[in-house]
């Protein structure tokens, strides 16, 4: 099987419009969580989100093009453009045919759907916009990326709630590793700040009224986020042959299903996914130096994830650094794993671990080294990135610092 490396990254999020701005904020421990931009959302019980503030689609798309693409798929395209340019890909017929795209999105064109329903049910209009379907479909991001670059190889979207983009990146990794594609653009995107959807989150009573404090005893829940992140994956040999810059190697992917409860997490399921990623990467638990945690800051997730990490890593759990970058970019649902993959890859490459921001108070049930509030210099060989979804579907990626 082929070794697979990451040669390009792109990210648009509450932390900035590109991967450099994203990393800059992570390194400084600066959170993108802020009061919600839209005054219409002021009736919600929670007031904060990690939004791409001041986003103007006309900076990225012609008006006609933007009409056809929902905000979530726009984020996918913007991140893909950056990752492809960053990787220095020069397309020709053969590379377009052998390239694959695997995206993750939990809810697709949520805001377009909301607008359609308001027209129908609130304004009493008899029809909705005919572009509604092509805008809301979950695969719109993957499709728009394929159109953008003329990529004609395998392309699809995965929807597994908060694990969507980890599943997507894992599938893309396996596809490139096994020879099913010569290059892959993979990641995820999400744009969820519409009233109908936020009301549903409010009803679940898991969103914090102020901010996201993962692993902190006084945590009060998650903070929703939006954005998109993409990675370019290539076989090592191809990357070397064209003299590409290599960010890191992707070495393992593990999945599991809890098969227990539709919303309550299971430490056992999470642990099985982490073990699966280590096994797939053929690495010992003791080699792992950093975990980018799922770390949502809900009452249930953080102690469960801590227990799962202890179950997998045993005594080594006390030597690991574990941080939740959701404290800064929010929980972008189907885009979360992709943003966190970019964070993990850059942590390996730059030798700096992003912190868990907004941390205040140790919790005996979350007694790991969570890199509180300040980033830390650390030369790490192997890192994993966790995503555990509602529905009990878990996906874990393993990355390694590149060395020939």
């Amino acid at each position: 099987m082929r070794r697979v490396v990451i040669t390009g990254i792109g990210a648009i999020s509450a932390l900035g419009r590109n991967a450099a701005e994203f990393w800059c904020a992570l390194e400084q421990g600066r959170s993108g969580i802020a009061p919600l931009e839209s005054p219409e959302l002021s009736t919600l019980r929670f007031r904060s989100g990690a939004e791409v503030r001041g986003y103007d689609s006309t900076c990225y798309f012609a008006e006609k093009q933007a009409d056809y693409i929902d905000r979530f798929a726009q984020f996918a395209v913007i991140a893909a453009r950056e990752a492809v340019q960053d990787a220095g890909i020069e397309w020709d017929q053969a590379s377009r045919e052998s390239a694959g795209i695997v995206t993750g999105s939990c809810v697709g064109g949520q805001s377009t759907e909301d607008i359609g329903f308001v027209e129908l049910y609130q304004r009493g209009r008899p029809r909705v916009n005919p572009l509604t379907i092509p805008r809301i479909m979950g695969n719109a991001g993957a499709s728009q990326i394929s159109i953008e670059f003329g990529i004609t190889g395998p392309a699809y979207n995965i929807s597994t709630a908060c694990s969507s983009s980890n599943h997507a990146i894992g599938q893309a990794y396996w596809m490139v590793r096994g020879g099913g594609a010569e290059i892959a653009i993979t990641g995820g995107s999400e744009a969820i700040f519409s009233m109908g959807f936020l009301k549903a989150w409010e009803a679940m009573r898991v969103v914090s009224p102020d901010t996201c404090r993962p692993f902190s005893k006084d945590r009060t829940g998650m903070i929703l986020g939006e954005g998109g992140a993409m990675l370019v994956l290539e076989p090592l040999e191809r990357a070397l042959a064209r003299g590409a810059r290599i960010y890191a190697e992707i070495t393992g992917f593990g999945m599991s299903a809890d098969a227990s409860h539709i919303t309550q997490p299971s430490a056992e399921g999470a642990a099985r996914a982490m073990r699966g990623a280590l096994r797939d990467a053929d690495i010992a638990a003791e080699q792992v130096g950093y975990i980018n945690a799922h770390g949502t800051a809900t009452q249930a997730n953080d102690p469960t994830e801590t227990a799962a990490i202890r179950a997998v890593f045993g005594a080594h759990a006390d030597k690991l650094a574990v941080s939740s970058t959701k404290s800064m970019h929010g929980h972008a649902l189907g885009a979360a794993g992709a943003l966190e993959a970019v964070a993990t890859v850059l942590a390996l490459r730059n030798g700096v671990l992003p912190p868990t921001a907004n941390y205040r108070e140790p919790d005996p049930e979350c007694d790991l080294d969570v890199v509180p509030n300040q980033s830390r210099k650390a030369d790490i060989e192997v890192a994993i990135s966790n995503s555990f979804a509602f529905g009990g579907l878990n996906a874990v990626l393993a990355f390694r610092k590149y060395s020939p």
């Binding site: 019980r45 009803a203 679940m204 009573r205 009224p209 829940g221 409860h261 539709i262 919303t263 309550q264 249930a300």
Partner: protein
Amino acid sequence: MPDQLTERVLKVIAATQRISPEKVTIDSSFQELGIDSMDGINILFALENEFDITIPDDQAKQIRSIREMVEGIQKLVSQSPGAKAQEQ
């Protein structure tokens, strides 16, 4: 005999949990009625609709029993704008 409000709360719990109303008393535990955390949140939603009230998150988190649920609803109903009008 439970008062009218208590009876309404118990009825809502039974209906939401899809169990027979006779099984639900003010002293039933969440465990014996099979109410997990998501069920609990679903019941609070039904109670908000039944009594036209809003249950704040911090109060919702403190509820550990059906008795606490009833007491919390009593308090919120007595504070709601419609309560005074009904009394008069």
